[in-house]
């Protein structure tokens, strides 16, 4: 799919109302279960953002500003006039930015363990710094059941590891400083004018459920739902439960 001249790697599934799914800190694996489960509730379009997965990054495209404009252009390009935007983790930040800015086609918003805001004092990080902490600590913080779900580089194929490394580079480029948040976003979140679901892995220690409740509290009328037995990636650890939660929200 080409948006604003950028050839996006896109995972598509399902039919019906358009659902844009933005990946998190890593791009969605082609074999991922969650997009297919979500497709029971609409026509899912899941792009790999530039630099992530199989999408090349145009020269000098290296800010969240670029990503927000790209997602807005993607919404413009989709059929229909009522799009649901689902953002996981890093993609949740982008989705929240798009929703705060407003888009005429945006009908519903789902944020799953999003990053993007700062709430604690200046010497306390809200978001575990994956570029500054021991990988073993990050791994334990990111999953409810890390041994089962965390990436195992020794078992992964070369292409999967290359993809993972590309994702990590892209995330670092966009999110290094301030670390995965926009200091001004909390001020603008109250502008979000569409029904919003904020879903959170109960065991998430990259960004805790308390942070999630504060996040939801800044969005008018947003509903907070915990996902049991999941960490920062409910789409990986509890794909059925998460898809079910979103499906129920869309049916309301």
């Amino acid at each position: 799919m080409i948006v604003h001249g950028i050839e996006l790697e896109v995972l598509s599934a399902g039919q019906g109302r358009p659902i844009v799914l933005l990946h998190g800190m890593t791009s969605l694996a082609p074999s991922a279960a969650f997009p297919r489960l979500l497709a029971a509730h609409g026509s899912v379009v899941a792009p790999s953002l530039p630099g992530f997965g199989g999408t090349a990054r145009p020269k000098d495209f290296d800010t969240v500003y670029d990503l927000v404009h790209l997602v807005r252009a993607l919404l413009d390009a989709l059929p229909g006039d009522a799009v649901t935007l689902v953002g996981l983790s890093f993609g949740g930040w982008i989705a929240a930015e798009v929703a705060a800015a407003g888009h005429p086609k945006l009908a519903r918003l789902v944020l799953v363990d999003p990053v993007g805001i700062k709430i604690s004092d200046r010497q306390t990080a809200d978001i575990l710094d994956i570029f500054n902490r021991d990988p073993a600590e990050v791994r334990a913080a990111a999953y409810h059941d890390a041994p089962r779900f965390a990436p195992d580089f020794d078992a992964m194929e070369d292409a999967e590891i290359v993809r993972y490394a590309r994702d990590r580079d892209a995330l670092c480029l966009y999110g290094w400083n301030p670390y995965l948040y926009n200091p001004r976003l909390p001020y603008w979140l109250p502008r979000i004018a569409v029904p919003t679901l904020v879903a959170w892995g109960e065991s998430d220690r990259i960004v805790t459920p308390a942070y999630g409740r504060a996040y939801a509290g800044l969005i008018p009328g947003a509903r907070f739902e915990a996902v049991a037995n999941a960490g920062h990636h409910p789409d990986i650890e509890q794909p059925e439960a998460l898809a079910g939660l979103i499906g129920a929200f869309l049916a309301e």
Partner: protein, 392 residues
């Protein structure tokens, strides 16, 4: 040939059980482990070693690193300023500013212009790309580091050259509305510029710009690759062949009265390799932007797959090296004056010559007294012979 004394001002006095247990001795050891009284002694000893060099005709490298027992020189311009006032004769190479990590290159240009004026034109400016834990210590994005490196160098060169009133800069990484250096540098249009790299792609760009390419501890093969790329880039662009003063080779050097003394004391320098290079995985193998993603499979896995050979970063091969191995790989020259002369000339001949030899002459537990003895012997017994042998 010009000789340059390089000393990182290391602080080896943290108990070994602590450094052994630490995942990253460079960036993360708590500050309470440093005794400021010992640090004060070290700063003065190192300054005295530099002043000795000034007396015996050896140039001085003023270095910058962040942050830990591997080097107490984080605030490089302060050391450069002290050297600018205290020395009288030799050239000072600031190599260097970790330029892609400094948030305001205009300020760096101002520091350099000031130092060059104080030195009455004895300054050389060397840039270092940096990486690893220094990215965290300086809060600098490791992705895009090289882009910032070149833009910062362009900006500093432009700021130093510009003498016609306020200048503007609106680049990708740096913007400034009013650049107008006072004082302007002593040397016109600006002091000679160097960069330290063993990366052939970076060396190519240095070749095109005519900057001095210093190569630090990459041994003969790594140095050949870098300088080969430098020469090739110039040839392809139709530029004249570079003079030997465009190339600097850096190695550990210790001269004793006897071979035994030279090697025994010189081997203390290797502390530098075994300690300073140990870094936590998030600052090394998992640091974004550090290598092409295509290399990640070999680097991320805990071990190579059957039939695979491991690709290591240049520094990995240096950890745990013995004096004999370091001498054999020609990253250390150690022994009596005759031996060291022969070792230097062997490297010189193998590499097709170089105009500068940077010698790491103090590190780790090598004492101030030992360092001064090595400097004196090198200046008196070796340097004249090297100069004679490499003349013309």
């Amino acid at each position: 040939m010009q000789l340059w004394f390089h000393n990182e001002n290391t602080y080896p006095f943290v108990p070994k059980e602590i450094t052994d247990a630490a995942t990253s001795v460079r960036a993360s050891l708590p500050g309470h482990l440093l005794d400021p009284r010992i640090a004060a002694d070290l700063f003065h000893e190192c300054m005295d070693e530099s002043l000795l060099c000034d007396d015996v005709g050896i140039n001085i490298v003023s270095i910058e690193h962040h942050s830990g027992i591997n080097s107490l020189y984080g605030a490089s311009p302060i050391i450069l300023g002290a050297l600018a006032r205290q020395t009288r004769n030799v050239r000072i190479l600031s190599q260097g500013t970790l330029i892609s990590l400094r948030h305001d290159p205009v300020r760096v240009a101002e520091e350099y212009a000031t130092a060059d004026v104080m030195l009455r034109g004895r300054l050389d400016i060397g840039f270092v790309k940096s990486g690893d834990s220094e990215m965290a210590s300086n809060n600098a994005n490791p992705v895009g580091n090289l882009e910032r490196f070149w833009e910062a160098i362009d900006l500093i060169a432009a700021a130093l050259k510009h003498t016609d009133g306020p200048m503007r800069w609106e680049g990708k990484h740096y913007t400034h509305r009013h650049i107008n250096l006072w004082p302007r540098p002593y040397q016109q249009p600006h002091p000679p510029m160097w960069a330290a790299t063993g990366d052939p792609e970076t060396s190519r760009e240095l070749g095109l710009r005519g900057m001095v390419n210093s190569v630090v501890l990459r041994g003969i093969d790594g140095t050949k690759r870098a300088w080969g790329a430098y020469r090739a880039a110039r040839a392809e662009a139709g530029l004249p062949e570079p003079a030997l003063d465009r190339f600097a080779y850096a190695a550990f050097v210790y001269v004793g009265d006897t071979d035994e003394e030279g090697v025994e004391v010189g081997s203390k320098l290797l502390w530098f390799l075994n300690t300073r290079l140990k870094q936590a995985p998030q600052f090394s193998k998992f640091l974004p932007g550090r290598m092409p993603p295509e290399m990640a499979p070999q680097v991320y896995r805990t071990g190579p797959r059957p039939g695979e050979t491991r690709v290591a970063r240049p520094a990995d091969g240096l950890i745990g090296m013995t004096a004999e191995q370091a001498i054999q790989r020609q990253i250390m020259f150690a022994g009596n004056p005759d031996t060291v002369f022969r070792q230097i000339m062997a490297a010189y001949d193998t590499l097709g010559g170089f105009g500068h030899l940077i010698f790491i002459g103090r590190s780790g537990y090598l004492t101030h007294k030992e360092a001064e003895k090595g400097i004196r012997l090198l200046a008196k017994e070796v340097l004249p012979r090297v100069r004679e042998a490499t003349r013309g």
